[in-house]
Protein backbone atom coordinates (compact mmCIF):
# COMPACT_ATOMS: atom_id res chain seq x y z
CA UNK A 1 0.00 0.00 0.00
CA UNK A 2 2.81 2.32 0.97
CA UNK A 3 4.36 1.83 -2.38
CA UNK A 4 1.20 2.71 -4.30
CA UNK A 5 0.85 5.98 -2.43
CA UNK A 6 4.44 6.86 -3.19
CA UNK A 7 3.99 6.03 -6.84
CA UNK A 8 0.92 8.25 -7.10
CA UNK A 9 2.74 11.14 -5.42
CA UNK A 10 5.71 10.67 -7.72
CA UNK A 11 3.57 10.69 -10.87
CA UNK A 12 1.72 13.81 -9.74
CA UNK A 13 4.93 15.62 -8.82
CA UNK A 14 6.63 14.89 -12.12
CA UNK A 15 3.50 15.85 -14.05
CA UNK A 16 3.14 19.09 -12.14
CA UNK A 17 6.78 20.00 -12.61
CA UNK A 18 6.72 19.37 -16.33
CA UNK A 19 3.50 21.29 -16.87
CA UNK A 20 4.67 24.22 -14.75
CA UNK A 21 7.82 24.59 -16.76
CA UNK A 22 6.35 24.48 -20.22
CA UNK A 23 6.26 20.86 -21.41
CA UNK A 24 3.66 19.83 -23.96
CA UNK A 25 0.38 18.42 -22.66
CA UNK A 26 0.73 15.08 -24.43
CA UNK A 27 4.24 14.60 -23.09
CA UNK A 28 3.07 15.15 -19.52
CA UNK A 29 0.24 12.60 -19.88
CA UNK A 30 2.57 10.17 -21.60
CA UNK A 31 5.26 10.49 -18.92
CA UNK A 32 2.82 9.96 -16.06
CA UNK A 33 1.16 6.87 -17.51
CA UNK A 34 4.48 5.45 -18.62
CA UNK A 35 5.97 5.67 -15.14
CA UNK A 36 2.88 3.97 -13.72
CA UNK A 37 3.16 1.26 -16.39
CA UNK A 38 6.77 0.59 -15.56
CA UNK A 39 5.54 -0.46 -12.10
CA UNK A 40 2.91 -2.71 -13.60
CA UNK A 41 0.00 -0.28 -13.32
CA UNK A 42 -1.35 -0.60 -16.82
CA UNK A 43 -4.68 1.02 -16.07
CA UNK A 44 -3.39 4.38 -14.82
CA UNK A 45 -5.21 7.35 -16.26
CA UNK A 46 -4.18 10.97 -16.30
CA UNK A 47 -6.04 14.07 -17.32
CA UNK A 48 -3.80 17.06 -17.80
CA UNK A 49 -4.81 20.69 -18.22
CA UNK A 50 -2.65 23.80 -17.84
CA UNK A 51 -4.28 24.61 -14.50
CA UNK A 52 -4.53 21.19 -12.89
CA UNK A 53 -3.77 17.48 -13.22
CA UNK A 54 -6.05 14.59 -12.30
CA UNK A 55 -4.46 11.18 -11.92
CA UNK A 56 -5.77 7.78 -10.92
CA UNK A 57 -3.69 4.66 -10.69
CA UNK A 58 -6.34 1.97 -11.17
CA UNK A 59 -10.08 1.87 -11.83
CA UNK A 60 -11.05 1.20 -8.21
CA UNK A 61 -8.66 3.68 -6.64
CA UNK A 62 -9.62 7.25 -5.81
CA UNK A 63 -8.35 9.95 -8.17
CA UNK A 64 -5.92 12.56 -6.96
CA UNK A 65 -5.61 16.14 -8.08
CA UNK A 66 -2.90 18.77 -8.09
CA UNK A 67 -3.46 22.37 -8.95
CA UNK A 68 -1.01 24.35 -11.06
CA UNK A 69 -1.19 28.01 -10.25
CA UNK A 70 1.89 29.53 -11.81
CA UNK A 71 3.38 28.63 -15.14
CA UNK A 72 6.69 29.68 -16.62
CA UNK A 73 9.04 28.32 -19.20
CA UNK A 74 12.10 26.57 -17.82
CA UNK A 75 13.35 24.03 -20.34
CA UNK A 76 16.23 22.95 -18.11
CA UNK A 77 13.77 21.61 -15.54
CA UNK A 78 11.72 19.90 -18.25
CA UNK A 79 14.87 18.18 -19.41
CA UNK A 80 15.90 17.11 -15.91
CA UNK A 81 12.41 15.79 -15.14
CA UNK A 82 12.51 13.90 -18.40
CA UNK A 83 15.84 12.35 -17.44
CA UNK A 84 14.36 11.21 -14.14
CA UNK A 85 11.43 9.60 -15.93
CA UNK A 86 13.85 7.87 -18.29
CA UNK A 87 15.78 6.49 -15.33
CA UNK A 88 12.61 5.26 -13.63
CA UNK A 89 11.23 3.49 -16.68
CA UNK A 90 14.55 1.80 -17.37
CA UNK A 91 14.59 0.61 -13.75
CA UNK A 92 17.71 2.54 -12.72
CA UNK A 93 15.99 4.57 -10.04
CA UNK A 94 13.65 3.65 -7.21
CA UNK A 95 10.51 5.63 -6.41
CA UNK A 96 12.06 7.20 -3.32
CA UNK A 97 15.24 8.17 -5.11
CA UNK A 98 13.28 9.71 -7.96
CA UNK A 99 11.08 11.65 -5.57
CA UNK A 100 14.07 13.05 -3.76
CA UNK A 101 15.77 13.96 -7.02
CA UNK A 102 12.66 15.75 -8.31
CA UNK A 103 12.32 17.77 -5.12
CA UNK A 104 15.93 18.81 -5.54
CA UNK A 105 15.33 19.87 -9.15
CA UNK A 106 12.17 21.73 -8.16
CA UNK A 107 13.92 23.94 -5.66
CA UNK A 108 17.21 24.31 -7.51
CA UNK A 109 18.00 27.86 -8.58
CA UNK A 110 17.72 28.77 -12.25
CA UNK A 111 20.83 28.37 -14.31
CA UNK A 112 20.88 31.89 -15.70
CA UNK A 113 21.17 35.01 -13.57
CA UNK A 114 18.62 37.80 -13.88
CA UNK A 115 21.23 39.98 -15.52
CA UNK A 116 21.92 37.39 -18.17
CA UNK A 117 18.23 37.05 -18.96
CA UNK A 118 17.89 40.81 -19.26
CA UNK A 119 20.87 40.93 -21.61
CA UNK A 120 19.33 38.12 -23.66
CA UNK A 121 16.00 39.93 -23.91
CA UNK A 122 17.81 43.13 -24.87
CA UNK A 123 19.74 41.48 -27.69
CA UNK A 124 16.74 39.46 -28.86
CA UNK A 125 14.72 42.68 -29.20
CA UNK A 126 17.38 44.31 -31.32
CA UNK A 127 17.86 41.30 -33.58
CA UNK A 128 14.13 40.81 -34.01
CA UNK A 129 13.72 44.36 -35.26
CA UNK A 130 16.35 43.51 -37.90
CA UNK A 131 14.55 40.30 -38.82
CA UNK A 132 11.28 42.15 -39.27
CA UNK A 133 12.94 44.22 -42.00
CA UNK A 134 14.05 47.07 -39.75
CA UNK A 135 17.31 48.84 -40.50
CA UNK A 136 20.39 48.81 -38.27
CA UNK A 137 19.39 52.28 -37.08
CA UNK A 138 16.50 50.57 -35.30
CA UNK A 139 18.76 48.07 -33.54
CA UNK A 140 19.85 50.26 -30.64
CA UNK A 141 16.47 51.78 -29.75
CA UNK A 142 14.87 48.32 -29.97
CA UNK A 143 17.51 46.97 -27.58
CA UNK A 144 16.92 49.77 -25.09
CA UNK A 145 13.12 49.56 -25.25
CA UNK A 146 13.09 45.74 -25.11
CA UNK A 147 15.54 45.60 -22.22
CA UNK A 148 13.65 48.18 -20.16
CA UNK A 149 10.36 46.43 -20.94
CA UNK A 150 11.75 43.10 -19.77
CA UNK A 151 13.11 44.64 -16.56
CA UNK A 152 9.69 46.17 -15.91
CA UNK A 153 8.01 42.81 -16.57
CA UNK A 154 10.08 40.74 -14.15
CA UNK A 155 9.89 43.36 -11.41
CA UNK A 156 6.16 44.01 -11.68
CA UNK A 157 5.32 40.30 -11.81
CA UNK A 158 7.01 40.02 -8.40
CA UNK A 159 5.09 43.01 -7.16
CA UNK A 160 1.46 42.17 -8.05
CA UNK A 161 1.47 38.55 -9.15
CA UNK A 162 -1.12 39.44 -11.78
CA UNK A 163 0.58 38.73 -15.06
CA UNK A 164 -1.82 40.82 -17.09
CA UNK A 165 -1.07 44.06 -15.22
CA UNK A 166 2.69 43.46 -15.31
CA UNK A 167 2.56 42.87 -19.06
CA UNK A 168 0.49 45.99 -19.55
CA UNK A 169 2.97 48.12 -17.64
CA UNK A 170 5.92 46.53 -19.42
CA UNK A 171 4.42 47.36 -22.80
CA UNK A 172 3.67 50.91 -21.64
CA UNK A 173 7.36 51.14 -20.82
CA UNK A 174 8.34 49.79 -24.24
CA UNK A 175 5.95 52.12 -26.03
CA UNK A 176 7.15 55.12 -24.06
CA UNK A 177 10.83 54.37 -24.62
CA UNK A 178 10.39 53.68 -28.33
CA UNK A 179 8.36 56.82 -29.02
CA UNK A 180 10.55 58.96 -26.79
CA UNK A 181 13.74 57.82 -28.55
CA UNK A 182 12.04 58.28 -31.89
CA UNK A 183 11.08 61.85 -31.05
CA UNK A 184 14.74 62.46 -30.20
CA UNK A 185 15.59 61.27 -33.71
CA UNK A 186 16.97 57.85 -32.74
CA UNK A 187 15.61 55.05 -34.92
CA UNK A 188 14.24 55.03 -38.43
CA UNK A 189 10.86 53.32 -38.17
CA UNK A 190 9.15 53.37 -34.81
CA UNK A 191 6.94 50.42 -35.79
CA UNK A 192 9.91 48.09 -36.30
CA UNK A 193 11.41 49.19 -33.02
CA UNK A 194 8.19 48.45 -31.16
CA UNK A 195 7.57 45.10 -32.88
CA UNK A 196 11.11 43.94 -32.15
CA UNK A 197 11.08 45.01 -28.53
CA UNK A 198 7.73 43.45 -27.64
CA UNK A 199 8.93 40.03 -28.86
CA UNK A 200 10.26 38.91 -25.45
CA UNK A 201 6.78 39.53 -24.01
CA UNK A 202 4.71 38.15 -26.85
CA UNK A 203 2.96 34.82 -26.14
CA UNK A 204 4.32 33.18 -29.26
CA UNK A 205 4.91 29.79 -27.72
CA UNK A 206 1.46 29.76 -26.13
CA UNK A 207 -0.30 30.56 -29.39
CA UNK A 208 1.43 27.72 -31.19
CA UNK A 209 0.98 25.27 -28.33
CA UNK A 210 -2.69 26.17 -28.12
CA UNK A 211 -3.31 25.29 -31.77
CA UNK A 212 -1.22 22.18 -31.44
CA UNK A 213 -3.14 20.96 -28.38
CA UNK A 214 -6.43 21.59 -30.17
CA UNK A 215 -5.23 19.51 -33.12
CA UNK A 216 -4.16 16.68 -30.82
CA UNK A 217 -7.61 16.62 -29.20
CA UNK A 218 -6.61 18.27 -25.92
CA UNK A 219 -9.50 20.66 -26.24
CA UNK A 220 -9.52 22.09 -22.72
CA UNK A 221 -5.74 22.63 -22.71
CA UNK A 222 -5.91 24.25 -26.12
CA UNK A 223 -8.63 26.68 -25.11
CA UNK A 224 -6.96 27.50 -21.80
CA UNK A 225 -3.64 28.25 -23.45
CA UNK A 226 -5.41 30.21 -26.16
CA UNK A 227 -7.16 32.32 -23.54
CA UNK A 228 -3.88 32.96 -21.72
CA UNK A 229 -2.21 33.97 -24.97
CA UNK A 230 -5.10 36.23 -25.86
CA UNK A 231 -4.93 38.03 -22.52
CA UNK A 232 -1.21 38.65 -22.94
CA UNK A 233 -1.59 39.87 -26.50
CA UNK A 234 -4.38 42.15 -25.32
CA UNK A 235 -2.25 43.59 -22.53
CA UNK A 236 0.61 44.31 -24.93
CA UNK A 237 -1.62 45.79 -27.60
CA UNK A 238 -3.40 48.00 -25.08
CA UNK A 239 -0.14 49.22 -23.55
CA UNK A 240 1.32 50.21 -26.90
CA UNK A 241 -1.96 51.77 -28.03
CA UNK A 242 -2.01 54.08 -25.01
CA UNK A 243 1.42 55.36 -26.03
CA UNK A 244 0.24 55.76 -29.62
CA UNK A 245 -2.57 57.96 -28.38
CA UNK A 246 -0.23 60.05 -26.21
CA UNK A 247 2.49 60.76 -28.76
Amino acid sequence: MERTEDLIELCLLIGKMMMQNGAETYRVEDTMTRIAQSFGRDEAQSYVTPTGIVFTISPGAPAKLVRISDRATNLEKVKLANNVSRNITSGDMSIQEAYKELRKIETSPTDYSMLMQIIAATLASGFFSIMFQGSWYDFLPACIAGGLGFIALINFIRLFEIKFVAEFIASLMIGFTAFFLFSLGIGEEVDKVVVGSVMPLVPGLLITNAVRDLMAGHLISGLAKGAEAFLTAFAIGAGIAVMFALF
Binding site: L123, P200, P203
Partner: protein, 148 residues
Amino acid sequence: MLIEHIIASFFASAAFGIIFQAPRNTLIKCGLVGMIGWVIYISLVWEEVDSVPATLIASFVIAMVSQMLARMYKTPMIVFSVAGIIPLVPGSLAYDAMRSFVQNDYSLAISIAAKAFMISGAIAFGLVFSEVINQILKKMRRTKAQVR
Protein backbone atom coordinates in the same frame (compact mmCIF):
# COMPACT_ATOMS: atom_id res chain seq x y z
CA MET B 1 20.64 40.87 -47.20
CA LEU B 2 20.71 37.22 -46.26
CA ILE B 3 23.82 37.47 -44.07
CA GLU B 4 22.08 39.98 -41.80
CA HIS B 5 19.20 37.59 -41.33
CA ILE B 6 21.51 34.66 -40.65
CA ILE B 7 23.31 36.53 -37.88
CA ALA B 8 20.17 38.11 -36.42
CA SER B 9 18.16 34.90 -36.34
CA PHE B 10 21.00 32.91 -34.78
CA PHE B 11 21.46 35.34 -31.91
CA ALA B 12 17.74 36.00 -31.46
CA SER B 13 16.99 32.27 -31.16
CA ALA B 14 19.90 31.64 -28.80
CA ALA B 15 18.81 34.62 -26.69
CA PHE B 16 15.33 33.15 -26.51
CA GLY B 17 16.94 29.93 -25.36
CA ILE B 18 18.30 31.90 -22.40
CA ILE B 19 14.93 33.52 -21.68
CA PHE B 20 13.30 30.08 -21.70
CA GLN B 21 16.15 28.68 -19.55
CA ALA B 22 17.27 26.04 -22.02
CA PRO B 23 20.19 23.94 -20.73
CA ARG B 24 23.48 25.77 -21.29
CA ASN B 25 25.02 23.20 -23.62
CA THR B 26 22.05 23.37 -26.00
CA LEU B 27 22.11 27.14 -26.60
CA ILE B 28 24.22 27.02 -29.76
CA LYS B 29 22.05 24.23 -31.15
CA CYS B 30 18.95 26.29 -30.34
CA GLY B 31 20.45 29.20 -32.26
CA LEU B 32 21.30 26.97 -35.23
CA VAL B 33 17.81 25.46 -35.36
CA GLY B 34 16.27 28.94 -35.27
CA MET B 35 18.65 30.13 -37.96
CA ILE B 36 17.85 27.23 -40.30
CA GLY B 37 14.12 27.78 -39.87
CA TRP B 38 14.27 31.51 -40.39
CA VAL B 39 16.58 31.34 -43.43
CA ILE B 40 14.19 28.87 -45.11
CA TYR B 41 11.23 31.07 -44.26
CA ILE B 42 12.73 34.36 -45.37
CA SER B 43 14.15 32.97 -48.61
CA LEU B 44 10.74 31.51 -49.49
CA VAL B 45 9.08 34.84 -48.70
CA TRP B 46 11.62 36.62 -50.91
CA GLU B 47 10.74 34.16 -53.69
CA GLU B 48 7.18 35.49 -53.23
CA VAL B 49 5.77 32.40 -51.60
CA ASP B 50 2.86 33.29 -49.33
CA SER B 51 3.83 33.46 -45.65
CA VAL B 52 1.48 30.63 -44.60
CA PRO B 53 3.03 27.85 -46.75
CA ALA B 54 6.49 29.33 -46.08
CA THR B 55 5.84 28.99 -42.34
CA LEU B 56 4.55 25.45 -42.83
CA ILE B 57 7.72 24.35 -44.63
CA ALA B 58 10.04 26.11 -42.18
CA SER B 59 8.32 24.68 -39.11
CA PHE B 60 8.37 21.20 -40.64
CA VAL B 61 12.14 21.44 -41.15
CA ILE B 62 12.61 22.83 -37.63
CA ALA B 63 10.65 19.96 -36.16
CA MET B 64 12.63 17.38 -38.15
CA VAL B 65 15.97 18.87 -37.10
CA SER B 66 14.79 19.15 -33.47
CA GLN B 67 13.71 15.53 -33.45
CA MET B 68 17.08 14.47 -34.78
CA LEU B 69 18.89 16.51 -32.12
CA ALA B 70 16.50 15.24 -29.45
CA ARG B 71 17.38 11.66 -30.31
CA MET B 72 21.10 12.41 -30.49
CA TYR B 73 21.28 14.13 -27.13
CA LYS B 74 18.42 12.32 -25.33
CA THR B 75 16.72 15.61 -24.53
CA PRO B 76 13.04 16.47 -24.97
CA MET B 77 12.43 17.82 -28.43
CA ILE B 78 10.75 20.95 -27.07
CA VAL B 79 14.14 22.27 -25.87
CA PHE B 80 15.28 22.69 -29.46
CA SER B 81 12.00 23.36 -31.22
CA VAL B 82 10.82 26.21 -28.99
CA ALA B 83 13.74 28.52 -29.63
CA GLY B 84 13.67 27.56 -33.31
CA ILE B 85 9.96 28.21 -33.72
CA ILE B 86 9.95 31.60 -31.97
CA PRO B 87 11.06 33.65 -35.01
CA LEU B 88 8.24 32.15 -37.08
CA VAL B 89 5.55 32.68 -34.48
CA PRO B 90 3.09 35.41 -35.46
CA GLY B 91 3.81 37.42 -32.35
CA SER B 92 4.15 40.64 -34.27
CA LEU B 93 0.90 39.91 -36.10
CA ALA B 94 -0.91 39.15 -32.84
CA TYR B 95 0.36 42.45 -31.51
CA ASP B 96 -0.62 44.30 -34.71
CA ALA B 97 -4.11 42.82 -34.54
CA MET B 98 -4.52 43.85 -30.92
CA ARG B 99 -3.26 47.33 -31.64
CA SER B 100 -5.83 47.71 -34.42
CA PHE B 101 -8.56 46.47 -32.07
CA VAL B 102 -7.77 49.01 -29.40
CA GLN B 103 -7.57 51.72 -32.06
CA ASN B 104 -11.12 50.84 -33.22
CA ASP B 105 -10.02 49.59 -36.64
CA TYR B 106 -11.97 46.35 -36.36
CA SER B 107 -11.94 45.16 -39.97
CA LEU B 108 -8.16 45.44 -40.21
CA ALA B 109 -7.82 43.82 -36.79
CA ILE B 110 -9.96 40.83 -37.77
CA SER B 111 -8.06 40.24 -41.00
CA ILE B 112 -4.68 40.42 -39.25
CA ALA B 113 -5.93 38.15 -36.46
CA ALA B 114 -7.13 35.63 -39.06
CA LYS B 115 -3.71 35.72 -40.67
CA ALA B 116 -2.02 35.19 -37.28
CA PHE B 117 -4.32 32.25 -36.64
CA MET B 118 -3.52 30.74 -40.05
CA ILE B 119 0.21 31.08 -39.42
CA SER B 120 0.02 29.52 -35.96
CA GLY B 121 -2.02 26.73 -37.54
CA ALA B 122 0.71 26.28 -40.13
CA ILE B 123 3.36 26.03 -37.41
CA ALA B 124 1.33 23.48 -35.47
CA PHE B 125 0.65 21.54 -38.65
CA GLY B 126 4.33 21.48 -39.54
CA LEU B 127 5.18 20.13 -36.08
CA VAL B 128 2.44 17.49 -36.15
CA PHE B 129 3.28 16.45 -39.70
CA SER B 130 6.94 15.85 -38.86
CA GLU B 131 5.87 13.79 -35.87
CA VAL B 132 3.63 11.65 -38.07
CA ILE B 133 6.48 11.03 -40.49
CA ASN B 134 8.74 10.19 -37.58
CA GLN B 135 6.27 7.63 -36.29
CA ILE B 136 5.88 6.07 -39.73
CA LEU B 137 9.67 5.78 -40.02
CA LYS B 138 9.85 4.20 -36.57
CA LYS B 139 7.17 1.66 -37.47
CA MET B 140 8.88 0.83 -40.74
CA ARG B 141 12.16 0.25 -38.94
CA ARG B 142 10.45 -2.01 -36.43
CA THR B 143 8.71 -4.15 -39.06
CA LYS B 144 11.97 -4.43 -40.98
CA ALA B 145 13.69 -5.70 -37.86
CA GLN B 146 10.91 -8.25 -37.35
CA VAL B 147 11.14 -9.48 -40.94
CA ARG B 148 14.81 -10.12 -40.46
